[in-house]
Amino acid sequence: MDELDVEPPLTLIPGVDSNRKQMCFAWGPGEMLVYETLFPKECAEKRPGCPNIFIVRKDQDVYSQTLRKLFNESHGIFVGLQRSEEELAGKSRKAQLVRVSKNYRSVIRACMEEMHQLAISTRDPELQCQHSTQVSILSAMELIWNLCEILFVEVAPAGHLLLHLLDWVRLHVCEVDSMVREVLSSENPSKHKDFWNAVDSFVLQGRMDDARHLLSKEASANPTSMGMCKILDDLMKKMPILSIGNTQTLTEMELKWQHWHEECQRYLQDGTFASNFHMESICKILLGDENAILEKKELMTTWYHFLVTRLVYSHPTVKPVELRFYAQSSLDLFLGGESSPEPLDSILMAAFEFEIHQVIKECSIALSNWWFVAHLTDLLDHCKLLQSHNLYFGSNMREFLLLEYASGLFSHHSLWQLGVDYFDHCPEYGKVYLELHIERIPLNTEQKALKVLRICEQRQMHEQVRSICKIMAMKAVRNNRLGSALSWSIRAKDAAFATLISDRFLKDYCERGSFSDLDLIDNLGPSMLLSDRLTFLGKYREFHRLYGEKWFSEAAKLLLMLMTARIAPCSFWMTLLTDALPLLEQKEVIFSAEQTYELMRCLEDLTAGKTDNQKLQVDDVETTKVEILRLALARNLARAIVKEGTLEGS
């Protein structure tokens, strides 16, 4: 972008005295952190510094309650546009795009209405000023959008172009209605001071029927001028207008118009209206006399009204490409060298010149929020009007603006959900931006985390899914909510974390001798297979259950399987073997000889694994345990061999 030729605005940070201490700042995604450093400026006294860190936000609009509705509604329209049928071609596609454009505009208008209501009803003067400014900004936005719709989306041809422009002016310069109401409600309308102003306004806006209606009041009040009124009325009635449904061709229209123009000329030259200054000036306006029209500057209030009036009465079949010349000259004539064009004027001028990129650029500079340019550019892109020239940092203009807008949304604590859809429709960089932004959303509650997770899962962002699930699972573990932690690891299919949780459970069991959270462990179901340790935990608990229900042989088989299939971690083997003790000591022989051999082997593996050093250090309890086990195993083996060797009684 070009250099700014205005002074950057100064923002004072309360509490930080930049005369005494140096300030420091850091950039954030949509804002800036500012704080006071310890470094004093020269010749400064020692005084306690400001302990606060300040957040400076440039975009205040995002926090406005009323504008939030704008963002939400336009989000719905945006998503609808992206999803709409691309196959529709030609007229139906154009009609669809015009509908979308009108939707956007009605949303802006609704927002404007509400802001206006707020401005009237509030008593705080500062707030009122703020709201009024906002209303005028919104009104300007709608004005520009409407013009862009006429010129770029609707692409009205010559003839219809002027009709649309007339509608545009009538919509936006509407002081005339209140004036007329006042005039009509007075006792003697034609004697009202604003009567002729009202008539002139109607004529300037091409509202012939309304003008004639008012004129009839003058005719009835003032019989002397009735003749003139009738002629003027007649002229107004006969003015050829190209209506939308009309099937005349442009040449026909031009011919008729030429005839009519000449008729008006004749009446003027004959001096028909010489006695009434007002009616004469109206006739001059009808003839398209620039000076006469310019005289009514205060009634028109804007140069684009002047432009349209000029065109209505001098070149009604103006072609779109010719607009620029008339626009430039209208602006110059209207301002008359007294004032310079405002930003709004240059934006409109750029539109008349069909310089779309210029329009977007100027709007970006003038407005504080990316909302307007992002949506307008997206719409124009759908109209296939923007060439896909790449900006020097890789993406095209539409994508750049959408990315900026969506990033702004992500800096808002609540509107981030809207931003996701915008990133989705940025083909080149959208995914990367989304990945970076979504990791930084604070996850205060589980429900918010679930929503963020769903967004990531739908877009196959596996890294983010894993990372979010890990964060939530860790939080749960710290709060001793092992079931929650497990459900997060299942969602992420995170085997490592499941192992961690199982170890926690097993640790609790070793310390307390019983399981906590039985409802979880008993009902693991297929999720048991997520990690080996988890499977072990489930099966171990099953062993306890079988033992408790006295299914001893099943329990024994399970126990053995746990050790031989190497599901159990080595640290736990001692515990398992100790668990086997009561089974070995039962009156009935539960372990078969084979099984006993297996158990013995396990015991030997366990003790053999320890080095000599460890053997010396092992305490009495350990050695006693091993001794008891060996004894029990031997006894069981003996009984098992005897039992298996015995023939069953016949």
């Binding site: 309650q65 719905g76 589980e446 769903r454 001793n480 299942i490 179901g525």
Partner: protein, 374 residues
């Protein structure tokens, strides 16, 4: 059915509830409350949908909901219920439970009672209580039951400062929702896919029954009981599956219906027409499940286009046993209609009462339909 129109309200709506109408009254509800979430300042608001006095051009009232009053709420509104005609109970993400009173005469809301530390996490090393989100609340005047992320179940009574009963560590995972099964029994669902029945008459802190799904332990998010046949319970899961359970028998659901594409946030049986069920989901849709028998008479082109309808095959005989319990839902006629016109963001909450439906979305919009069965 006529179209919904949205009212944009500048706050993401997490819960919407109709104010209950007195039993004898025949009129539809006029007032509803909403709770917001994810705002720096969350609010509970009360809205009115006006009276029958003014009619639109078609003879149907088309007005927008009007905000009557609102009050600041600390933390996200996780769940909300009308305690009676004037009081609203709200569960907060900070772990507190608050009763608000709606004063009809001057249209204001005020705090009536609050239990600050209804739900909290305990750190065994330090005596530090971190707040745990309270995720569900249900009332049956004068009792209030709350459940939360800390796995705790609380039984409160209005105007009692302390909880009447607390079941510590009732669940090792997060309890997502709670509802009354009978006056002394409640149902809870949790994030490892279990449905549990708790009986307050028993002193031990164990559920009297546990039900779970057969497959993966998909978390369950919402639960509702059939208004007339108290053994029929519906739950919605994280994968959008609707499960119907019969709590008298078995430990597995009777039917599993593949519904939404994302988490199902709320499921409601219609309180007076229990053949109708409503579910809303993270995928942005709100479905109306209709198993009423008289539908089979209507021709299939009765439903206008613009909504997606799925018609399943029908049978001539409809047995007296509720259609919800039939093992094969495709055998019976069930009609499913999506009520939200253009889906974008999640529909977080819905409520039905009489002919009226209200729902709130993450797109900061409220939809009201006052002619559900037109």
């Amino acid at each position: 059915m006529e179209d919904f129109s949205a009212k944009f309200v500048s706050q993401k709506i997490s819960k919407t509830r109709w104010r209950p109408v007195p039993a004898a009254a025949l009129q539809p509800p006029e007032l509803f409350a909403t709770g917001s979430w994810d705002n720096e300042e969350n609010k509970i608001s009360v809205w009115s949908v006006g009276d029958f006095g003014s009619l639109g051009p078609n003879g149907e009232y088309q007005g927008e909901p009007q905000l009557l009053c609102d009050i600041r709420h600390h933390g996200d509104v996780m769940d909300m219920q009308f305690f009676d005609q004037e009081r609203i109970v709200a569960a907060s993400s900070t772990g507190s439970v608050t009763i608000f009173r709606h004063h009809q005469n001057n249209q204001t809301l005020s705090i009536n009672q609050r239990w600050e530390r209804a739900h909290y996490h305990v750190d065994p090393d330090t005596p530090f209580y971190g707040g745990a989100s309270c995720t569900g609340v249900i009332c049956n005047n004068p009792e209030i039951v709350t459940v939360g992320e800390d796995g705790r179940i609380n039984l409160f009574r209005a105007d009692h400062r302390e909880a009447v009963r607390t079941i510590e560590n009732a669940d090792s995972s997060t309890l997502h929702a709670v509802t009354f099964l009978r006056t002394t029994e409640i149902l809870t669902v949790n994030s490892i896919g279990q449905l549990k029945i708790w009986d307050f008459r028993q002193q031990r802190n164990e559920p009297s029954q546990i039900f779970s799904l057969t497959g993966d332990r998909i978390p369950l998010h919402c639960v509702d009981r059939h208004p007339n046949q108290q053994h029929i319970v519906a739950t919605g899961g994280q994968d959008g599956m609707l499960s119907i359970w019969d709590v008298r028998q078995g430990s597995m659901p009777v039917s599993l219906l593949n519904a939404h594409e994302a988490e199902m946030w709320e499921v409601h049986f219609h309180p007076s027409n229990p053949d109708h069920l409503f579910t809303c989901s993270e995928d942005g849709s709100l479905w109306h499940w209709d198993t009423s028998t008289d539908v089979s008479e209507k021709p299939s082109f009765f439903h206008q286009g613009g909504r997606s309808t799925t018609l399943l095959s029908h049978t001539a005989n409809q047995s007296v046993i509720s259609a919800w319990l039939s093992n094969n839902p495709t055998k019976d006629r069930m009609e499913i209609t999506n009520l939200v016109p253009n889906q974008t963001l999640s529909v977080n909450s819905l409520d039905v009462l009489g002919p009226c439906l209200v729902c709130g979305t993450d797109a900061e919009a409220i939809y009201v339909n006052r002619h559900l069965f037109a």
